[in-house]
Amino acid sequence: MVSKKSRNIMDNCRFCWMCRHICPVGHYTGLERNTARARMLALSMVERGEDISMAIDNVYECMCCGACTKECVTGFDPVYAIMEVRKEAALAGKTPGYIGMLVDKVGKSGNVYGKKSVDKDLTKTIKSVSRKTDTLFLLGPDVIYKAPSLAVKAIELLKKSGTGFTVLEKEPNTGAALYFLLGEVGETREAAEKAATVLNNYEKIIIYEPFEAKVIIQQYRAWGIRLTAKICTFTAFLSELMKNKLLKPAKTKEKYTYQDASALARDLEETKPAENIIDSCGVYKPMLLHGKDTFSAGNLIMNEYMPDVMKGIASKRWENVPYTEADTMITSSTAEYLLLKQTAPKGKKVMALEELVLKSI
C-alpha cells in the first residue's frame, strides 16, 4: 500500500519505544495506541495483510507535530509514513467519515470550519488594508474564523510599523488543511497551485499561521509549485521590524514564557525571532521542552473531531509553567492560543505575540 520508505519506517519504528515520552497526545491520554511505536506496529500489520480499518482512526489521532521524528537519533520519520497513509487511504476511499466531512467543508467554504462570513470588525480592518501593495499578509482561516480579534490586532500592529501591506478580503485556500487531512492528493495540489497564482502577484508574503507557513515554504517546493515571492513567517517579520526599529517596544521586568509552535520551531527551525520579540518586551523565561523540543499544545483541525483530547493536551502543557515564574504564556499559533486560553489555570494568562508587542509599544 505504501512506498518502500514508509514501509521501512513502519518496520523500524514498530518495535521501538524510544520516543514514547515525547508524544503530546500519548502524554495526555496515556493510551498505548497514541504512540509512534503502536501506530507503526498497526500499520506494519496492515502492510502484512490486516485491513486498514483497524488502524485508520489511530492515524488521525496523530497531530503530526514531528516530536517523534525530531527525537529519533537514527532519522526515522513516523510523520512521513502517516501522511502517506492518509493519502493512500483517501485514494482508496478509506478515509474515516468524520474526516470526509471536514474535507467537504473545505470544498464548500475553503476552511474546515465551514464558515463563510467574517467577523464585522475584522472585515472593516481588512478593508482598510485591502489596497494592492507588493507585500501580502496572509492570515489563514484559523485566525480569521476562530480568533478574529487576534487578526485585527496583528493587522493593527503591522500598520503601526508603517509597512505597506495588503490583506485579501477573500484569501485563497492554500491547501494546508487538505494536506493535513488527506496528504498529497490531487485536491491538495490543485488548491496549492491555485493559491500560488494569487501569491505570485506579490513580491513578499508574510504568513501568520505557522502550519500554513510550513506547507507553503516546504511542501509547495516539494510539489514543484514555484513561488516567486519572498516568504517569511509573521514571527520572523515582527522580529525584523523590531531590529529595524520600526516597532519599538518598551522592555519591562514582566516575565513571559513562550509556547513554541512545532511547525515554526521544528519544521521551519525558527526559534530565535519569537525569543527576541519576547526579550524585547519583557523577561523571557523558557519552559521545559521549548524550542525544537517543544511539546505541542493543540491542533484546531483535530479539535473538530477530538476536542476533549486537544483540551487535555493544552491543560497538561500548563504544568510546565510554574517553574518559569511567568504568569503569561505567549503563543504564535491560533490553535495553541485558543486551547491554552481555554485551559489557563487561575492567575495565568495567554497572549499572542502581537498582543504582547502592542501592549509594549
Partner: protein, 472 residues
C-alpha cells in the same frame, strides 16, 4: 471469552473506569500484544498473532484499579498489567487473554519533596517525566536505563530494573520509599512509610519484582538526588579480564563510582579501535566519578592508584564523555540489533568469587553448543560483594520458521541461564523473569519457591494476576 459475557463484563468495566478508557478495539488489542520480548516481536514480524487481551482498560488511580480487579476476580478473568510494554521477558504479554490493565493514565506527579528527596507519582508515569520534574527543580532521578523514555515507574518496579549509574545510586529497589498497591481482591494497601525499618519483613521488597503477579503497584515515592557538582569520566585498558575484575572489586571496596563498565575482550577489540585508533588486546573499562568536587578529587586519586597497580593503561576521558551523551543512542533502530537477528541479554549477577567463573562458563556453553551464536559481555553494575554480567548472544541468521526460531531461542536461553545458576549466579539481574524465564525459577530457588507460591496463593487465590509469569 463468550461474546455475550464479554459484553456484560465490558459494561461493568466501563462503569468502573469510563467508557473511553475501556477498549476491545483491534488496534488496542494488537498494540498490547507485542512487547519488547524477542519472541513476541519475531511472531509479529512473521505476520502471526500473539495472544491478545479481550479488553484493555486504563484506570486513572487506585480506586479505579480496585474496581477493575474486583470485577476480574469475581469473573476469574486473567489480568495482565501493562506499563510501557518495554520489558524484554514477556512479562506484560496477556498470554491467557483476559484483561490488560494499562497503567499509563495513572501518570500524575503528586508531590516533589525536596526536603526528603522524593517524587510521589502514579506508576503509569514514564520515568523521563520524573527526570524532567526533578531537573526543573535542580535535582535528578539518577535512574538512567536505556528505556528511560519508554518505560514506566511501575514497570521498573515490577521487574527490579536498573540504570547506568546504579553503582553509586542503587537499583530501582533501592529507590522506592512508600508504595500504594492494589491487591487482587481490590484492597488498596500501603507499604511502610520508609524503606528502612524493623517493622517486620519489607512489603516493598515483596511487591518490587513481583511482575504483576501479586498486585498492581499504583503509586510510589521515588528518590531524587542532588545534581553532582562534577561528573568525571575515565577509560582504562587492562591486560586481561582477571586484572580488570580484581581492580574493579578493589575500587568498589574503597568507594563507589557512579558508572563502571568493563567490556570483555570480544567487545573491547571493536571498541578500543574506535577510541585509540589501533587494535589492542585487553579489557576496556569506562568509569565515572561524581559528586562533591572535593570528594571526587580524592576518589580519582584512589582510582588511579589502584588501577596503576594493575598496570591499566589510562585512556583519558573522551570516550566516557561521548558515551554519556549518546548512552541510549545504541538502542534506536538502525543502531541496535534487530530482527531478523535473534539476540538476548542473559544478564546475571554473582559474588566476586564466582563472576569470572560464570563468564567463562557461559561463554564456553554458548559458543560450544551454538557455534552460530556470537557471545559478548560487559560488567556494568558493581557492588562491594560482586557485580553483574551483561552478556548477550547474537545469531545473525536464525531459522525462518517461527516455531523453530522459538525452539532455538529458548534452548540458548536455557543453556546460558542454567550455566549461570550452576556456577553461583542468578537467573536474571535486572530485566526480570516474565514468561521467558519462569521455567527456571524452580531451578534457582528449589524448595524456597514455596515462599513465592504461598504468597501467590494468599494474595491471588483465584490466580488472575498475570498468570504463567515468574514461574507462578
Amino acid at each position: 471469552m463468550d461474546q455475550f459475557l464479554q459484553d456484560e463484563i465490558l459494561t461493568e468495566l466501563e462503569d468502573a473506569v469510563g467508557r473511553s478508557n475501556c477498549s476491545s478495539r483491534e488496534i488496542d488489542k494488537l498494540t498490547h500484544s507485542v512487547d519488547y520480548f524477542w519472541l513476541s516481536r519475531m511472531w509479529a514480524d512473521r505476520g502471526l498473532k500473539m495472544p491478545e487481551a479481550d479488553i484493555v482498560v486504563s484506570p486513572k488511580d487506585a480506586k479505579e484499579t480496585s474496581k477493575v480487579l474486583q470485577i476480574a476476580d469475581y469473573y476469574r478473568i486473567p489480568v495482565t498489567t501493562w506499563g510501557g510494554g518495554g520489558g524484554t521477558q514477556g512479562g506484560a504479554l496477556p498470554v491467557c487473554n483476559g484483561i490488560v490493565l494499562d497503567t499509563k493514565r495513572m501518570n500524575k506527579i503528586y508531590d516533589i519533596n525536596t526536603d526528603s528527596l522524593y517524587i510521589e507519582c502514579g506508576t503509569g508515569a514514564v520515568y523521563k517525566d520524573l527526570e524532567w520534574a526533578a531537573n526543573e527543580r535542580g535535582y535528578a532521578t539518577m535512574h538512567y536505563p536505556s528505556s528511560l523514555t519508554c518505560s514506566t515507574v511501575g514497570g521498573f518496579l515490577a521487574h527490579r530494573g536498573i540504570g547506568v549509574s546504579s553503582t553509586k545510586y542503587g537499583k530501582i529497589d533501592d529507590m522506592a520509599l512508600q508504595m500504594e498497591v492494589v491487591l487482587a481482591n481490590g484492597d488498596i494497601i500501603y507499604t511502610s512509610p520508609t524503606p528502612k525499618h524493623a517493622a517486620g519483613p519489607d512489603l516493598n521488597q515483596i511487591f518490587i519484582g513481583s511482575e504483576g503477579t501479586l498486585g498492581v503497584i499504583t503509586k510510589a515515592q521515588m528518590r531524587i538526588y542532588r545534581q553532582p557538582e562534577v561528573r568525571r569520566f575515565r577509560g582504562f585498558l587492562f591486560h586481561n579480564m582477571t586484572d580488570a575484575i580484581c581492580a574493579g572489586r578493589e575500587l568498589l571496596q574503597s568507594f563507589k563510582p557512579s558508572v563502571m563498565r568493563l567490556y570483555d575482550e570480544a567487545e573491547t577489540s571493536s571498541l578500543i579501535k574506535k577510541i585509540v585508533g589501533v587494535s589492542k588486546p585487553g579489557a576496556f573499562m569506562n568509569l565515572a566519578i561524581e559528586g562533591d568536587k572535593k570528594l571526587a578529587d580524592v576518589e580519582c586519586e584512589i582510582m588511579l592508584d589502584i588501577f596503576a597497580r594493575y598496570h591499566a593503561e589510562d585512556l583519558g576521558s573522551e570516550y566516557g564523555e561521548k558515551w554519556w551523551k549518546e548512552k541510549i543512542a545504541f538502542f534506536y533502530p538502525g543502531n541496535m540489533m534487530d530482527i531478523p537477528q535473534m539476540f538476548g541479554t542473559m544478564d546475571t549477577i554473582a559474588t566476586y568469587s564466582n563472576v569470572e567463573k560464570i563468564y567463562w562458563a557461559m561463554k564456553k556453553a554458548i559458543e560450544t553448543n551454538y557455534p552460530m551464536a556470537k557471545f559478548i559481555a560487559h560488567f556494568s553494575h558493581w557492588y562491594e560483594w560482586g557485580c553483574m554480567m551483561y552478556d548477550r548472544f547474537i545469531v545473525d541468521n536464525p531459522p525462518q520458521d517461527p516455531h523453530e526460531a522459538l525452539r532455538l531461542h529458548n534452548e540458548i536461553w536455557t543453556t546460558g541461564v542454567r550455566t549461570a545458576i550452576a556456577n553461583g549466579g542468578t537467573i536474571n539481574d535486572h530485566h526480570g523473569v516474565g514468561i521467558k524465564l519462569g521455567r527456571m525459577m524452580k531451578e534457582e530457588y528449589g524448595s524456597a519457591m514455596q515462599v513465592f507460591q504461598g504468597l501467590k496463593k494468599e494474595l491471588d487465590p483465584n490466580g488472575i494476576m498475570n498468570p504463567f509469569k515468574l514461574g507462578l
